[in-house]
Every structure is written in C-alpha cells, then in structure tokens.
C-alpha cells in the first residue's frame, strides 16, 4: 500500500519535472526566436525607426490589452465567449466621440462612454444571456448576432465616414525631448495601459474581490456554497469587461479612428491576443497584446502586403505547439 503511494508520488514528480523541462525549453526557444527577429529587423531599419515602430506597436498593443483583458476576464470566470466585445468597442468609441463633441471634456467622454457600454453589458448579461446560461455555443452565437445589431445601428446613428475621437489640446502634437520626437497621445495611451494593468493585477491578486473571482474561475459551485452570490459576481464581471471595452473604444478611437466594420477587425486582433496569450489569463492578455501589437507594427513597416499573414503564422504555430496559449493553464 505504502509502496503504491510512493510510486504514485514519484510518478507525479517525474511528470512535473517533465513539464518544467518542457516549459523551460519552450521559453528558451521563444526568447531565441525573439532575439533573432529583433536582430533581423535591426538589419532592415535604423535604430531610430526601430524604436518608433516599437512604440507604435506597444501603443496599439495597449488598446488591445484593454479589450482582451475584459474578454479574458469574462471568459475565465463565466466561460462566456463574448464576441460582442468588438461591437462594445466600436459603440463605446462612437459614444465617446459624441460626448467629446458636445462637451469637449475628454475625461468625461471616456467615462460616460465606458459607463454607457457598461449598461449595454448589463442588458446583455441579464436579459439576453441569462436564459441560455451555461450553453457555450448558443452564448457565442448570440453575441455574434448582437455584434451585427450594434454595428448596423451605429452605422445608422453615426454614419459611415471614418471618425476620429477628438483629443484635448495638451495631448495633441508630438512630444520632443532632445532628439526624441513622438506623438503625445500615443504615449498617453501607453501610460493608461500601464496604470490599468497595475490596477487589474492589484485587484486580482490582492483584494477580496479578486480572490472571489479567482476562486470562481477554479470552482464556481464551491464559491456559491460559501455563501457568495456568484450570480451577482458574474454580472459585475461582465459589466466590468464591457466597461473596459468601451474605455478601449474611446482611447483607441483617438488614434485608430472609428469605422464601420472595425468591430470585427478589432475583435480579430483581440482573439489573436487571447489565443496567443492563453484564454482566461491576465498575464497572458498582457503578453499577447504586446506581441500582437509589435508584430502588427513591424509587419506593416517591413512587409505591408503580408500584414495579416504575419498575425496568422504565429497563431497557427502556437495552436499546434501549445493549444492552451503561451500562459494558459493546461486543461
């Protein structure tokens, strides 16, 4: 009996060691590929334009992070794949545009739009998704239908012309520090992303709310049995994810401009981020957003006609080598 237990333990240890070894190998290979890519890119462009492209990629990645973190949070806790996230982004951006046009107050526009989308999220979760809770595929398809409605209605309200969200004066124009020149607004977006990421990590790792959410990800039934109103937590998390998507729409609308059809385009980028990073993982969303942002930016500069394929290739590679994503948990 004892022998069997010991054997079981040693087998588990072997499996764990094997997993560690594989993870190490994977990380080392990944870093090597990354270094090779940087070396190759530096051979193609000057150091200055390298930094310029890197910052462009990171600021785009910042917007993707706002989007993907909400998406991944909702999925991690509720197993709902909210494909309407792209629609939330677009409508949020347009709302921000309207508020900005009326009041000229960027902070107000940002929060009014994000709160507006939060209400849309509340409606989606409570009214549309509640009757089919737990039925994964119908949930996904419903959110796709919702995206068509949102996209078409925003076309009816805001028209089909490319619409940039106006940004306040102190964020316009370039920032010059010595030799370094870069648009202020993109730097502001980057700073926002860092702040939001820190706040999200703090909430998830250090607060009671974060503990409930993390516990809910692992075992919903037990959390509910502990006397926590898991349904309210679900609704709250869904609304928070929607809030982040609306926030992303206004922030992103400031330099990506808003267009009909952008709902699905940004959703595609968001999906690649979570597929690369690992669904349900906040660090995965950060890593995925940085990678996708950088890949997109450098690909546009170096091989413009292939810029979509450069998204596709890493996604295919990850799916074959590590289907759960770079930082995703093994099922």
């Amino acid at each position: 009996m004892a022998e069997a237990v010991t054997e079981e333990i040693s087998r588990e240890a072997i499996i764990r060691a094997e997993q560690r070894r594989r993870r190490l190998l994977f990380t080392v290979t990944g870093l090597l590929v990354f270094a090779l890519l940087v070396w190759w890119i530096l051979g193609k462009m000057s150091l200055k334009s390298f930094w310029l492209q890197a910052l462009n990629g990171l600021s785009f990645g910042a917007v993707l992070f706002f989007l993907a973190s909400g998406f991944t949070l909702i999925f991690g806790l509720m197993r709902i794949t909210n494909l309407a996230h792209g629609g939330f982004y677009l409508v949020g951006g347009y709302m921000g545009f309207s508020v900005m046009s009326w009041t000229g107050n960027f902070a107000l526009a940002l929060f009014a739009a994000a709160l507006g989308i939060t209400v849309v999220g509340l409606f989606t979760e409570r009214v549309l998704l509640r009757p089919i809770r737990g039925l994964e595929k119908p949930e996904v398809l419903l959110t796709i239908g919702l995206t068509f409605v949102l996209g078409d209605l925003s076309l009816a309200v805001w028209g089909g012309d490319p619409t940039p969200v106006p940004v306040p004066g102190f964020l316009q124009g370039p920032l010059r520090i010595g030799d370094f020149v870069y648009p202020r607004y993109r730097l502001f977006v980057l700073a926002c992303a860092v702040v939001v990421a820190v706040v999200l990590f703090y909430i998830e790792r250090r607060t009671r709310l974060g503990a409930i959410v993390r516990a809910g990800v692992d075992d919903r039934e037990t959390v509910a049995a502990l006397g926590i109103n898991i349904k309210a937590v679900f609704t709250g998390v869904f609304m928070f994810g929607a809030f982040l998507a609306g926030f992303a729409g206004v922030i992103g609308g400031g330099f990506l401009t808003l267009l009909p059809g952008q709902d699905f385009e940004i959703l595609l980028f968001g999906l690649v981020v979570v597929i690369l990073g690992g669904l349900g993982s906040l660090p995965g969303a950060v890593l995925g957003a940085v990678l996708v942002g950088l890949i997109d930016s450098f690909a546009k500069a170096l091989v413009p006609e292939l810029s979509f394929f450069t998204l596709f290739a890493p996604m295919a590679l990850i799916l074959v080598l590590r289907p759960q994503g770079l930082l995703g948990k093994e099922e």
Binding site: T81, L128, K137, V140, I144, V149, G151, L268, L319
Partner: protein, 341 residues
C-alpha cells in the same frame, strides 16, 4: 426491397415534389427569381457544409466563408489574371480550397467548443484581410471581374439547372457520408471524445477528415457562387457570410441535411425580397440570430419532426400497432459534450 415506413414515404414524396418544383421553376418564374433560386441552392450547399461540422461533429465554425472565398478567388485569379480555361480554373479553385481547409483543419483539430469557434472566426477574417491587401492576386476592394461561365451554361436558366444538378449530387454524397460508419464515428466525436479515444479512434484525425470534407463542399459552393455572379470581392470572405451560413443551418435544423437547405431558402428570401425596402438588413439578421438562438435552437425541421412524431404516436395508439420512431431527429445546438471539463 424493404418497404418504406410511412415517414419514409412522406419524405420521398416531398423530395420528389421539391425536385419537380425545381425543374418546373424556370417555366414559371422570372429570371430574377430563378437567379435567386440558384443563389438559395448554393447557399444551401454552403450551409450544409457548415452543418456537417456544426451538427454532426459538434464543431461550430464561423470561418467557412473564408474557405469558399479561397476557392472563388482561385477561379477569379485563373480567369482574370492568368486567362486560363474553365477546367484549369476549377482545378486551381478546388486545390486552393482544399489546401486552405487542410491548413485551417490542422490548426483547429485539437480544439473544440468555443475555442474552435474563435479559431475559425480568426481564420475566416484573415482570409478577408488578405483578400483586401493582396492586390496583385485579389484586386483588393475592386474584386475580380472577367469571370465567364462556360458557353453551355451561360444562360441564367441553364446555369440554374446546372447548379441544381451539382447541389443534388453533393447532397447525395453528404447523405451517404453521414449514414456511413464514418458519419457514425463523427457523431461519436460530438457525443464524447474520450470514449471515442478509448474505442481506438483518433479524435483529432477524425476532426481533420470532417473538416476536409466540409471544406471540399464549401469550395464547391464557392465555385458555383463565383460563376453565378461572375465576380468576386473580399466581402465574400467576411464574417457576415460565415455567420449567415451558420444562421441558416440553425434556423432550418442543425444535424439534418435538409434543414440547412430550408434555412438557406428562408434567409435568401428575407434578404432579397422582404428587406429590399428595408435599409437595415444587418440589424434584422442580427435580431433573427438572437431570436433563433434564444427560442428556436432545434430549427424548423425540429419543430416539424416533433409535431410529426406526436401525430404518429396518437395514430399508433389508436390502431394499437407498433410505434414508429423517427430516426434522424435534429440536434439541439445547446447540446454539450457529456465530458467534464
């Protein structure tokens, strides 16, 4: 030969009536309506190819339009840029469609459920993105023109009969496929992957094969589509095209072959006749999507089968004879694998 059951006789009668109607249609309707019937038949074949994955293998795809668009572009490229003849156009189109299917299948075959949906969605959108950017091959937003049908089917009614024949043959092949042992093991993947693995099947490989078969029929639909319009542009690969196919399959009845065809006829009717005066077609489509997913996941065939079964039951209980059971009821989209996650 085995005597057909009552249900079998009714089905056969309806099929013969539908084919008879189809043959007579060009004598009755205007060229516009016949063109729409061709479109509906092609859409039906496309929806069937989706249903093979969604209904039989339990893998909902939102990227199928990407595959059929690759085939369409194969025809367009050979016609417009190379100037090759029709056989070369079709050969390249089918090859391109199958290569795209193989790559997509290899990426998605180890996943299921929502992962599969997300991956196929991304795949379809990437085809769309590439078709906008690869101007040399696709003509970007302008699309490709100069595609001509071969002379023996150049008239609209000739092409209609041709489409009908191809779609009938494809439906028959699909019918054989889903009734075969292969079809049974495909359903087994949907029911329980782990049990299939225990029985010695390789679920990933099975999914790969189903994906390839589905991709083949999607390619055929793409080829028929491009010759119908004699034009192809990036919107053919867009997510709306894939999503409409899924909607048609669910609306008609997922897990049956006739369901997607019925769904396709309804959606083509609504899109081209009901909503011609309505500017907001995407909104209407989105609302239909939401309503169907919320309230009618078994689709039209599901509703009809349930009613028919009730009628059979009451008839049998009156006569006291043996109870006849329907064998191929449509599946609920809500069906979830019984495996613990």
């Amino acid at each position: 030969m085995r005597r057909l059951s009552l249900t079998g006789r009714v089905k056969l009668g309806l099929l013969v009536a539908a084919i008879g109607f189809g043959v007579a249609a060009p004598y009755i309707f205007s060229s516009f309506i016949v063109g729409l019937l061709s479109l509906a038949l092609i859409a039906g074949l496309f929806a069937m190819s989706i249903d093979l994955l969604a209904g039989y293998a339990g893998l909902v795809t939102l990227g199928q339009a990407g595959i059929s668009a690759v085939a369409s572009y194969g025809v367009g490229y050979m016609a417009n840029k190379v100037g090759a003849g029709v056989p070369a156009q079709i050969l390249v189109a089918i090859t391109a469609g199958l290569v795209a299917s193989a790559v997509f299948a290899a990426m998605a075959m180890r996943t299921d459920g929502v992962y599969f949906i997300m991956i196929t969605l991304a795949q379809g959108m990437i085809v769309w993105g590439l078709s906008i950017r690869l101007y040399q091959i696709t003509g970007a937003e302008n699309g490709l023109t100069g595609i001509e049908r071969p002379s023996f089917i150049s008239e609209y009614w000739q092409y209609y009969y041709f489409v009908m024949a191809v779609v009938l043959i494809c439906s028959f092949l699909l019918f054989i496929a889903v009734r075969s042992p292969f079809g049974a093991s495909t359903k087994g993947i949907r029911e329980s992957e782990s049990r299939m693995r225990m029985l010695g099947y390789n679920p990933a490989l099975q999914k790969f094969y189903v994906f390839m078969i589905s991709g083949f029929f999607a390619s055929i639909a793409g080829i028929l589509f491009v010759y119908l319009n004699e034009f192809i542009s990036p919107s053919a690969a867009y997510i709306s095209a894939s999503a409409i196919g899924v909607l048609e399959a669910i609306l008609g009845g997922i897990g049956t072959l006739i369901g997607p065809m019925i769904g396709a006829f309804i959606i083509v009717y609504i899109q081209n006749i009901v909503s011609t005066n309505l500017e907001r077609w995407p909104t209407l489509m989105g609302l239909i999507f939401i309503v169907v997913v919320l309230f009618a996941r078994k689709g039209i065939v599901g509703a009809i089968s349930a009613g028919w079964q009730r009628w059979l039951d009451s008839r049998e209980s009156r006569s006291g004879g043996p109870v006849e059971d329907l064998d191929d009821l449509p599946d609920d989209l809500a069906f979830e694998s019984s495996e613990p996650r």
